[in-house]
Symmetry: C2
Amino acid sequence: MKFNIALLAGDGIGPEVINEAVKVSDAIAKKFNHEITWTPALTGACAIDAVGVPYPDETHEVCMAADAVLFGAIGHPKYDNDPSAPVRPEQGLLLMRKKLGLFANVRPTFTFPSLIDNSPLKRERIEGTDLVFLRELTGGIYFGEKGRRDGGETAFDNCVYTRAEVQRLAKKGFELAMTRSKKLCCVDKANVLETSRLWRETVQAMEKDYPEVTVSYEFVDAVAMRLVQWPNSYDVLITENLFGDILTDEASVISGSMGLMPSASVGEHTSLYEPIHGSYPQATGLNIANPLATILSAAMMFEDAFGLKDEAEAIRAVVNKSLEQGIVTEDLAPKGSKAYKTSEVGDWLVANL
Amino acid sequence: MKFNIALLAGDGIGPEVINEAVKVSDAIAKKFNHEITWTPALTGACAIDAVGVPYPDETHEVCMAADAVLFGAIGHPKYDNDPSAPVRPEQGLLLMRKKLGLFANVRPTFTFPSLIDNSPLKRERIEGTDLVFLRELTGGIYFGEKGRRDGGETAFDNCVYTRAEVQRLAKKGFELAMTRSKKLCCVDKANVLETSRLWRETVQAMEKDYPEVTVSYEFVDAVAMRLVQWPNSYDVLITENLFGDILTDEASVISGSMGLMPSASVGEHTSLYEPIHGSYPQATGLNIANPLATILSAAMMFEDAFGLKDEAEAIRAVVNKSLEQGIVTEDLAPKGSKAYKTSEVGDWLVANL
Ligand SMILES: CC(C)[C@H](C(=O)O)[C@@H](O)C(=O)O
Ligand SMILES: CC(C)[C@H](C(=O)O)[C@@H](O)C(=O)O
């Protein structure tokens, strides 16, 4: 098969980790007889520096023309302390999500047996955790009307959802649940919010179309607790944009493998794959960043965007092997043992595929 | 001194735990020569059953006339699965907060040395944790305009904050920080929300009035992570209503002592003290519920509402003693050792004051 992949390396360590994902993807393509064309494009702080906006039209066209998008990370300290600066990298992220119609953010949290002791949670609490959040990504309070009144003294943000928006996200949730343990948890705040009541009634009405799926409804505050107490009691969770932002990040740290967690954002026009970690500016150019989350994101891309399960499994297998053999960057290297460079990890993976 | 305290026992185990808090408070009053008049009033499901509304006007008058309110818990399973029922106990809670002007919810999270191994977190992560959230409680998306459009197909919830609302909450935060380690963290989502940008600019403008306080600004998703990773890196945190709902509950489970955490809601007209746990309907009437969170809430009341620090310390000291000596209800009793009844714990505390 032939693929055209948009390559959005972004800022900070983005280019370094993307580089390794490209190396591994190319090696997989060679092994399985595929042909990948990579089309790089600018986004984030580097795009602001180059052309004044964080998600240039040109980049959008590259993404729209591609079969999938592989994304690194964005963000630069010079924008960090001023969330009211007129142009910021995050705006590019939100614009990209909206323009590409990436309405579902897929965020798995799972554990690696060899890394389980990195978790802040006790082993018996975290063992066996394997859950996936589907976070709605193009609606809610992120995209509602916002502004000031009374000469700036009053601020407002409107949270809006339509039934159709809930349905398309929930549909993905039910479908994902059918491929897993057939358990779906809808996370809302229906005891307070009208949008949550719309979510709940919409999901309830869809239950009859998926009679095999057991659906539970939990309040967001209760989920914030149970994620820490019994993370392995969850399987597929669906939720709105802001709750998803908070809960997926909370979930990511419990595994002890945050630096390894991949993600996908899927939608109307294309799909995008990215590590959940940030641009880690302090490490820029040092060749020390962990490339595995990006490489595992590429695996998700092979499987979900191209339907190539064997290719994805081959990547995951070699990543597991590298972890077991301790071919890891400094964030994972036990005290006193050798830490590999970003590019050395990529080289090892390619050599051992 | 003479106090008039409104007693809102509520539903489920509420009356049982309130009963023990009254016993201990009366014993303290006797010891320190105070006189307490308790005025019971209905709220929650029991109020709906009795008079059709969850926060009757009569109850409001009792609270307004009191020097403080001691509250148990509300909620009943018959309302649980239907967040769109026309009358629900939670509505009473929200109405009570609004009508009593309880704009600041004070939620400490701390550890008891003897209970630290109950935490889902590893000992070295949780040891020394002692933080306090100030959650804004009468504004934001909880109380903004909400409703449906397009024949019910679109739902909306408006989040609104005024500068004055932020100032009065932040003022409490700065003042509390001054009595502790002089560290204040403002939790927001200023990279996305206009209300958060108002929060941040308002708090920033207040920094000059508290030159000794070091203020940090963190995004809500980052705090959701760090609370699990390094809870003891926080001290005083201030945040808006919905973020506070989620984060205070997340924080409560990390200590391993959720069943013991007290809280206060303070504001314009009076202040209210309550355990953070719920009404635990399955345990109703069994005399097994842990009364310590309510008793520690009474201690907060003595200290904060009446300025009686010695009385508060006396309560805390005897609670600590009961924990050390294993005079605990079944939730805390180690396997194989005796579990005390709710009322037995109260009796022991009174006898050992
Ligand atoms: C950077 C920010 C706008 C973004 C979000 O809140 O969606 C980030 O936290 C994320 O989760 O991808
Ligand atoms: C019951 C509910 C309305 C309430 C809230 O969300 O404020 C509760 O979760 C709390 O935190 O006191």
